[in-house]
């Protein structure tokens, strides 16, 4: 089962220690064969909305940093419980902040 973990902006600015710790966590997850892909996102994006064929664009930054996704990790776990356990570890490394985890439907679902 694949899960997409995302973190939102608005948390405390990352310190060099956090970067180092996160690097180690990522390495460990890769070693465990769990992490498929990960990346960071520019909080300044473009917002789209489409109504009756009319596409409207709004440039970021958005008013609420807390609501925009700034990083993601695509992980593969055998059960949802496993994914939750991994996400908990991730958040222990990150410290304060907010984010989500959603299952990505695959061939087996």
């Amino acid at each position: 089962m694949r899960f997409l973990m995302t973190t939102n902006g608005g948390g405390p600015a990352p310190t060099p220690e956090l970067y180092a710790e996160m690097g180690r966590f990522v390495e460990e997850m890769t070693k465990a064969g769990v992490l498929l892909a990960s990346g960071g996102l520019d909080p300044n994006g473009t917002h789209f909305s489409a109504t009756s064929g009319q596409v409207t664009l709004t440039d970021g930054p958005y008013t609420e940093a807390k609501e925009s996704i700034v990083s993601f990790a695509l992980i593969e776990a055998r059960t949802q419980d496993e994914a939750i356990e991994l996400a908990k570890r991730f958040w222990k490394v990150v410290g304060d902040g907010e984010g989500d985890m959603r299952q990505v439907y695959g061939p087996a679902d």
């Binding site: 070693k31 064969g33 055998r78 061939p107």
Partner: protein
């Protein structure tokens, strides 16, 4: 201290943590007690202790660390009882007791505090090598690997391989006994043994993958959980032994094959051949990961092995956006190289298929006919299936039908049998 939780919740957490951490915990215990069977027993004891303690005391802040410490504690008790206490063990005992007191339930019981990371990487690798040791029969290597490295229960392994649970349990018990009796050391194999030992590890992982990719028995063609498990083991191995090109070759091969999962069966569960698959359904993420693994293998500048070659063949297929774009000449050349590096009748059969795509079915059929007397292929359903396909292309429908029927008889997989019988039936309707 955490809050008390229900027994069911504690059990769920124990199971989850076990699945995630079994390899690391068993590996580091095996280094301590130098016996894989005993190591697993101690860890099982720790799991029982967790099931007793966690509902009452709450799930510890770091469940993996808790299990590791508890298992270590049991190991020390055991070693003391066995009167094998030397200074090192005494030191370790004090160390663990100390940390256990302060850290175990208050959150500072960090997994990292109780393990040595650099050693652990090698410990897990040692555990893989020992689980796949050539003194064990292949089915036992598979069962032990899934048990120790995958954290699967005997019930799960039995279900995946459609074997009775006691059979699997017995395989595991016997395997652990054999390793103990033969005093197989818990160490990384060195040259010249290493290549053969690594070969055994890769074979076990690929067998697990293949059983998931194309189940030999049963009503389902695919058992995704086995493929996932093999992929996880392979990816793990690639990080533990990054200098081995064949490890990356195997990972590349599995990633690319797994990318076709969604396209491989129709909604009713029947297999769809490579040429008929909807390539838009191939998983591009896995294809990219496969290409990356293949590049890692090539960048090591070592002689090319069979897994790298098979991955290169898989990559050729992955590159073709339509079936008719497939570079069959290149594939035929790769098979020829594969036959030089690792000759096998199955590779010869695949080579014949590739050649038939460029030189025509008659040439392919001649090559296949040379294989029909081969004892290793006597019960291999794909031999008559390929023959039937080539005969049908040549318009020899009666002969083709007999071959498809023979193939259907040989396969033990229900959806595959159905497809073969359909092809046999189609032969009676006329050419094409």
């Amino acid at each position: 201290m955490a809050d008390a939780v229900s027994e069911a919740e504690a059990r769920r957490t124990v199971e989850t943590v076990w699945r995630l951490e079994s390899a690391r915990i068993v590996a580091s215990m095996a280094r301590l007690v130098r016996d894989v069977g005993l190591a697993e027993e101690l860890v099982q004891d720790a799991l029982v202790a967790a099931l007793q303690d966690w509902p009452r005391l709450g799930v510890p802040e770091n469940p993996g660390g808790w299990l590791m410490l508890t298992a270590k504690h049991r190991a020390i008790d055991r070693l003391r009882r066995n009167d094998r206490l030397d200074d090192k063990v005494a030191q370790l005992g004090q160390d663990v007791a100390e940390r256990r007191r302060t850290a175990i339930h208050d959150g500072t019981g960090d997994f990292d505090a109780v393990i040595d990371h650099e050693d652990l990487t090698d410990d897990v690798l040692r555990l893989i090598f020992i689980a796949c040791h050539p003194v064990l029969p292949t089915p036992s290597r598979i069962a032990l690997t899934l048990r120790l490295l995958g954290g699967l229960t005997t019930e799960e392994i039995a279900r995946a391989f459609m074997v009775a649970e006691p059979t699997i349990a017995q395989r595991i018990v016997r395997a652990k006994k054999t390793l103990g009796e033969r005093q197989i050391p818990f160490e990384l194999p060195s040259q010249p043994e290493r290549a053969e030992r690594l070969g055994s590890v890769l074979e076990v992982v690929y067998l697990i993958f293949n059983e998931g990719y194309s189940a030999t028995v049963g009503d389902d063609l695919l058992r995704p959980e086995l493929c996932q498990e093999a992929l996880r083991l392979g990816r793990m191995l690639a990080e533990l032994a990054p200098g081995e090109p064949e490890v990356h070759g195997l990972v590349a091969l599995m990633e690319i094959q797994a990318s076709r999962f969604r396209a491989r069966v129709d909604p009713t569960g029947r297999p769809i051949t490579l040429s008929d698959q909807n390539r838009g359904r191939w998983d591009q993420l896995l294809i990219r990961r496969g290409f990356t693994a293949l590049l890692r293998a090539r960048n090591l500048n070592a002689p090319i092995g069979p897994y790298v070659l098979q991955a290169a063949i898989a990559a050729c297929h992955a590159q073709a956006r339509r079936a008719e774009d497939t570079n069959w000449e290149q594939i035929a050349t790769l098979y020829q190289t594969l036959l030089q590096v690792a000759p096998s009748p199955v590779a010869r059969l695949n080579h014949a298929v590739a050649v038939s795509m460029t030189a025509g079915p008659a040439v392919g059929l001649n090559m296949v006919d040379e294989l029909t007397g081969h004892s290793a292929l006597r019960n291999y359903h794909l031999l008559p299936a390929v023959r039937g396909d080539l005969l049908a292309k040549l318009g020899r429908m009666d002969e083709a039908r007999v071959e498809f029927e023979r193939a259907a008889e040989l396969t033990r997989n229900a959806p595959e049998r159905e497809v073969l019988l359909r092809r046999a039936y189609a032969c009676t309707a006329g050419p094409g």
